[in-house]
């Protein structure tokens, strides 16, 4: 029934990103709080990656790679701060690792992914 046009149907009505942005937050929170290295890394990559994808889809950025770089920089700075200042190596390195992965993703994307192909 809802598929029928109403006034609010001129917008696009589907996006795959929000679920994963939302999932990335709890996964990274649990990972960081309990010091579960892989969970923290995975959660952060999931969150930042989906947020970058969403930014592209919404037209805030042209391609997601630059956004990935920004997230990577944030993770690196934060991770180092947590390691050095707060003295929490496991959590800090997890954040750094997420930053490195994101940076790699951004670089690979920029260099190897041709235009007109959907971002992943």
């Amino acid at each position: 029934m809802d598929e029928n046009p109403g006034i609010s149907d001129q917008y696009r009505t589907a996006s795959p990103w929000p679920v994963f942005v939302a999932l990335g937050i709890p996964v990274s929170e649990v990972g960081l709080l309990f010091g579960l290295f892989p969970v923290a890394v995975g959660g952060l990559v999931l969150f930042c990656g989906s947020a970058a994808g969403m930014a592209e889809e919404a037209g805030y950025v042209e391609r997601p790679w630059g956004a990935l770089g920004v997230f990577a920089a944030l993770c690196l700075v934060l991770g180092l701060a947590v390691t050095l200042v707060a003295g929490q190596p496991v959590r800090g390195y997890a954040t750094v690792a997420a930053g490195v992965l994101l940076l790699a993703g951004g670089v690979v994307g920029r260099l190897f992914v041709t235009e007109a192909q959907p971002a992943i």
Partner: protein, 585 residues
């Protein structure tokens, strides 16, 4: 952690991420990804509604405010059922004075979870359900201002719920929190000989944090939507009352929830990283200040939109406009402001400075005034009106009745000398249940019945609706009045066992709860059956609002939607000669 465990986790996480990436790639392709190219309409790519995917994927990927409203509704109702079943177990335990059915610690766990479930997983989301579905329709907006943020806000809730309930799941070494919904330190900080240092409490705190993030995102979205997305003929002067209350509520959320989030982070730091905010030399009372600075606005966050629902629905069945519309709006705003100045009325008995206490007493008494203004406006709206006692109307009237008792008992609690006697007794439990169940949930039901035709396309069974209402009205008053009396007798709250002298009133309260339980069964049955096979709505104006000139925008939208649906060759009626004009789009 053992090294094999780490490796296993890493592999699992890696597989999960690869799976996500693969799925995303598929979905993005399948969605016939047309590069926007020369699209002149900057930003949004104009996907037509027919490109909404089918089945489960539609619900996972939707950013349409109506779909998200339905998701919020389904989530809120599920949480309501869970929280309701929890309290039924507790009430059965309280049928006799001894510890019989469940252990005392399990009682405490249920108590904690019941409160948090009802407030954060049912109350806030069910309001968001109505707001998502109807605010854009009421104000003539295309959608919410940030549709994707809207979806994120919803999708934070299921993981949040999972974390909040994690203690009850069979996870080795994790037990449920027993801190009460107020999570007072030092107990909740895990110190002492108790077992609240357990990871179950951390998980609950994380879950609560997530629901707070979700509510904040939603609030920002509603503020932006109401400010910037109003249709051409909707001005501040004729903005409907429900949107006004959502706007005020969103403002409250914006100031209250981030504070709760910060306090929770502080508590987590105290628990896990040896900081000293509340323990280790910090102040346990600081927690109470932070919690109630959030907590009191939270009760108005929960009650203002239901007041808006009642202010919207009650006049439709009284055959007249809302009496003193402006004053209802002003009192909403006044409550919004004042609600930040009363938090210490929850702390009268903690030994805070008596001069501070009396100023909080003054503001707490003052906040009763705008509440009373609204009550008089509802009564005056009905006065000499042409009342039609439909199910939504009955729930609205029930709301007013219960709100009066809840409010008046609140005013007594706001008075320091009275509170020192009644604090931490069942009187307080009675007071707030008159409001959270008797008023807020009743208003929610009014909304669900009132708009049932819109979102189901079918009608519920009227007789069952009325049975539901009467069972709930009678049941809630039996239970909560018994609680007030128990409080006068000195029965302390939050105990699984009690002295034999309280047995009769506790049994009465359990009886009332059973009556409500039966009402709940009737409600679920009615909604499920009517949703699946109720009679289809024949008329876009099922409540005959046009006749009295009281039709609001969402019904006009409903009518347009039905017309286009039929012209498109919708379900049944075959239009012989497609003569109908379809120029609405």
């Amino acid at each position: 952690m053992a090294i094999t465990g780490q490796i296993a986790l890493t592999v699992l996480m890696g597989l999960f991420l690869v799976g996500v990436a693969a799925w995303l790639a598929r979905v993005e392709n399948w969605r016939s990804y047309t590069p926007v190219g020369g699209g002149a309409t900057g930003g949004e790519t104009a996907y037509g509604s027919d490109e909404k995917p089918a089945g489960l994927i539609r619900w996972l990927t939707t950013v349409d405010h109506k779909d998200i409203g339905l998701l919020y509704g389904a989530f809120g109702i599920t949480a309501f059922v869970v929280g309701g079943l929890m309290v039924m177990v507790m009430r059965l335990e309280l049928f006799d004075p001894e510890m019989t059915l469940i252990s005392n610690t399990y009682y405490n766990s249920l108590l904690t979870s019941h409160g948090i479930t009802m407030l954060f997983l049912f109350g806030t989301p069910i309001i968001a359900a109505f707001a998502n579905y109807f605010v854009p329709l009421l104000i003539g907006a295309d959608d919410m201002a940030f549709p994707r943020i809207n979806a994120i806000a919803f999708w934070l809730l299921p993981p949040g719920a999972l974390l909040i309930w994690a203690g009850f799941l069979p996870i080795p070494g994790v037990i449920p929190a027993q801190t009460g919904w107020t999570m007072y330190t030092p107990l909740s900080a895990g110190v002492g000989s108790g077992n609240q240092a357990n990871a179950g409490v951390d998980l609950m705190l994380l879950g609560l944090h997530l629901t707070g993030v979700s509510a904040t995102m939603g609030a920002i979205n509603f503020i932006a939507t109401i400010f910037t997305e109003r249709g051409e003929n909707v001005s501040w002067a004729n903005l409907d009352i429900f949107s006004w209350t959502i706007l005020t509520q969103s403002g409250l959320i914006l100031f209250a929830f981030p504070l709760l989030g910060s306090a929770i982070v502080m508590l987590l730091l105290d628990r896990n990283f040896g900081t000293a905010f509340f323990i280790n030399g910090g102040s346990p009372i600081l927690w109470q200040h932070l919690f109630w600075f959030f907590g009191h606005p939270e009760v108005y966050i929960l009650v203002l939109p239901p007041m808006g629902l009642v202010s919207l629905i009650l006049p439709r069945f009284s055959g007249r406009r809302l009496f003193g519309f402006k004053f209802v709006v002003y009192s909403t705003l006044a409550i919004g402001v004042l609600s930040f100045g009363v938090w210490a009325h929850h702390m009268f008995a903690t030994g805070i400075d008596p001069r501070l206490r009396s100023s909080f007493m003054a503001v707490s008494l003052a906040i009763a005034i705008p509440s009373a203004v609204k009550t008089f406006n509802w009564i005056t709206t009905m006065w000499n009106g042409r009342l039609r006692l439909t199910t939504p109307m009955l729930f609205c009237i029930g709301f007013v009745q219960n709100f009066i008792i809840g409010g008046v008992t609140g005013v007594f609690l706001a008075s320091i000398p009275v509170d020192l006697v009644l604090h931490d007794t069942y009187y307080v439990v009675g007071h707030f249940h008159y409001i959270v169940m008797g008023a807020i949930t009743f208003a929610g039901m009014a909304g669900l019945y009132y708009w049932f035709p819109v979102f189901a396309g079918r009608m519920y069974q009227r007789r069952l609706g009325k049975i539901h209402f009467w069972l709930w009205l009678v049941g809630s008053n039996i239970t909560f009045l018994a609680m007030i009396l128990l409080g006068y007798g000195g029965m302390p709250r939050r105990y699984a066992t009690y002295l034999p002298q309280f047995a009769t009133l506790h049994q009465v309260a359990t009886l009332g709860a059973l009556v409500m339980f039966v009402g709940g069964l009737v409600w679920v049955y009615n909604f499920v059956v009517s949703w699946l096979e109720g009679p289809r709505v024949e008329d876009a104006d099922p409540w005959n609002l046009k006749q009295s000139g009281l039709r609001t925008n969402e019904w006009a939208w409903f009518e347009r939607k039905r017309e286009t649906a039929l012209a498109d060759g919708g379900d049944e009626e075959a239009l012989a000669d497609g003569g109908d004009p379809v120029d609405e789009e």
